[in-house]
């Protein structure tokens, strides 16, 4: 019974972190229509921003809004200095993708210059709770709460506000959005701010739950892409479902691996396998978003 409770808790924790790391990537894909590999560094920059503040004596929870701001600023700068100029010059999605890999690499090495490649940890109180038979740390509790909160807030934004509806309209059909007088550029910028900001906060939580290295975001990029693809590229609700589904597969898989005496270091191999299966059998993901494919 306790094992089941712990398994459920672990699935919630992993899934919530995936949600936080994947929303931005899927939103940016939906509106800008390219796979942004520099999303990894949006995650990492948030984590290092919190580290600096933590060193100055601030709690990492106080640092969360600063991590949001730093990563949102990086996202907007990348859009303005790299992606927008490439789009304006008629660059295709491949050019944008390669540029994002390059830009991410530059940021990663800059972070390594500043903070070194050493493994760092935050100063956080090692508090943990016993909930319904499962043991969870304070960080993990915050991960789950923030994950669920961001799902609710995103849902409210997308359906309950004019700006959110304009975001959905723009991702449905950017040309018609322009023809309707929607300020498409402002909608894109908002997408970068939100997507980047949430990735930054996710980075703080991921680093708090594990450790902080310059490759923090790069290491999780693959499972995060798996979530995005599994959810149906660009689908917010699909990504949410996929995050918890993949988390379940990973956590159950880890139990199976360890019972077979195989190293649990293979846990990310589970996302690889699922990713490949999805690409083979459900290329449009579980939400099956045909919307993106209907026009060029």
């Amino acid at each position: 019974m306790a094992d089941v409770a712990q398994l459920a808790a672990n699935i919630l924790i992993t899934g919530s972190l995936y949600v936080l790391m994947a929303v931005g990537l899927t939103m940016v894909y939906r509106i800008m229509r390219f796979a942004n590999f520099a999303h990894a560094e949006l995650i990492t920059l948030g984590a290092y921003t919190a580290y600096s503040l933590n060193q100055l004596g601030f709690s990492i929870y106080i640092a969360l809004p600063f991590a949001f701001t730093a990563s949102a600023l990086l996202a907007v700068s990348l859009e303005r200095m790299v992606f927008m100029p490439i789009r304006d010059r008629g660059g295709d999605v491949i050019s944008l993708m390669i540029a994002s890999i390059g830009a991410g690499m530059v940021v990663r090495h800059l972070l390594q210059q500043v903070y070194s490649a050493r493994v760092l940890t935050y100063n956080i109180p090692l508090v943990s709770y016993e909930l319904l038979g499962a043991r969870v740390s304070q960080t993990q509790l915050v991960i789950v709460l923030l994950g669920i909160l961001s799902i609710l807030l995103f849902h409210l934004l997308l359906t309950g506000t004019t700006l959110g509806r304009a975001m959905r309209a723009t991702s449905d059909n950017p040309g018609l959005a322009r023809a309707s007088g929607i300020p498409v550029h402002r909608v894109m910028l908002l997408t970068w701010v939100l997507g980047g900001g949430i990735a930054g906060m996710a980075g703080v939580l991921r680093a708090a739950d594990t450790r902080l290295v310059p490759t923090l975001g790069w290491e999780v990029l693959l499972p995060v892409f798996a979530v995005v693809l599994l959810g149906g590229i660009g689908s917010f609700y699909g990504a949410v479902a996929a995050a918890y589904l993949l988390a379940a597969a990973e956590n159950v898989g880890v139990l199976v691996l360890s019972s077979l005496g195989i190293s649990t270091g293979y846990r990310y191999a589970i996302s690889f396998v699922i990713l490949i299966l999805v690409l083979l059998f459900r290329p449009h993901g579980i939400a099956g978003s045909r919307l993106g494919g209907e026009r060029e």
Binding site: A169, D172, S180, G181, P183
Partner: protein, 238 residues
């Protein structure tokens, strides 16, 4: 006297990436007037509309809106100055509900709900579907929604690209009837159509395009009795 024309184009040429598709077309559209653009497939009708709306750059010629010459037409500005455009395909937001589609048509307008009530009076079939995603509408309903969405901005000029394409004959009639209603409210309509007879029934004037140029212009009667009509039109098909 120029103020009686809401939209004037003088010798405009446009196209894609240096390829001239529309070649020196002039036109004038008066308040509450329906001007039909006819012509075989590929004659540049859609390209003409896109150029008029600022979606494609003008290679030659100039545009005047409500008596004002435009420096550099672009869609956001055109919407603000009272021009609505309904593309030939992909003319609704599929995952948004009918209500949300209409709201987007009046983006940034505080009293969009009041406008929606007025627009729905003209398109009562949308009333029951307000909370359905546009994706679930039939072809005819989708065209109605596309028109309604454009009307939400309260335009003075509507540019419509084949609003009856792919619809059953009964539905074509209904769509044309609705455009007639819209015109009665004082909106000027530039209507690109392939359903020649239905379109000419509601038109004040029309012109025929072939190979990117205007080849004939006249009243509906003149167009229908034009002896070269069949040759221009059907001879160049396929």
């Amino acid at each position: 006297m120029s103020s009686s024309w809401v939209l004037e184009a003088e010798g405009i040429s446009s196209g894609y990436a240096g390829l001239k598709v529309v070649d020196g077309v002039s036109l004038r559209l008066g308040r509450g007037e329906v001007l039909v653009v006819l012509g075989p497939n590929g004659s540049g009708k859609s390209t003409l509309l896109k150029a008029l709306f600022g979606l494609l750059p003008l290679m030659e010629g100039r545009l005047r809106l409500m008596g004002r010459w435009l420096e550099k037409p672009e869609p956001e500005g055109m919407v603000r100055m009272g021009v609505g455009y309904v593309p030939q395909v992909d003319n609704v937001f599929p995952s948004l509900t009918v209500r949300e589609n209409l709201e987007m048509g009046a983006f940034g307008v505080r009293d969009w709900r009041r406008r929606m009530k007025n627009v729905i009076e003209l398109f009562p079939e949308l009333q029951k579907k307000l909370d359905l995603p546009a994706l679930n509408l039939s072809g005819g309903e989708r065209q109605m929604l596309a028109l309604a969405r454009a009307l939400m901005a309260q335009p003075e000029v509507l540019l419509l690209d084949e609003p009856s394409a792919g619809l059953a004959p009964g539905m074509v009639k209904r769509v044309m009837g609705r455009i007639e209603e819209v015109r009665k409210t004082g909106v000027a309509v530039l209507l690109v159509e392939q359903n020649v007879r239905s379109a000419l029934q509601i038109a004040d004037r029309g012109f025929i395009m072939a190979g990117g140029r205007k080849v004939f212009e006249g009243t509906p009667e003149e167009i229908l009795s034009h002896r070269d009509m069949g040759r221009i039109y059907f001879g160049m098909r396929g």
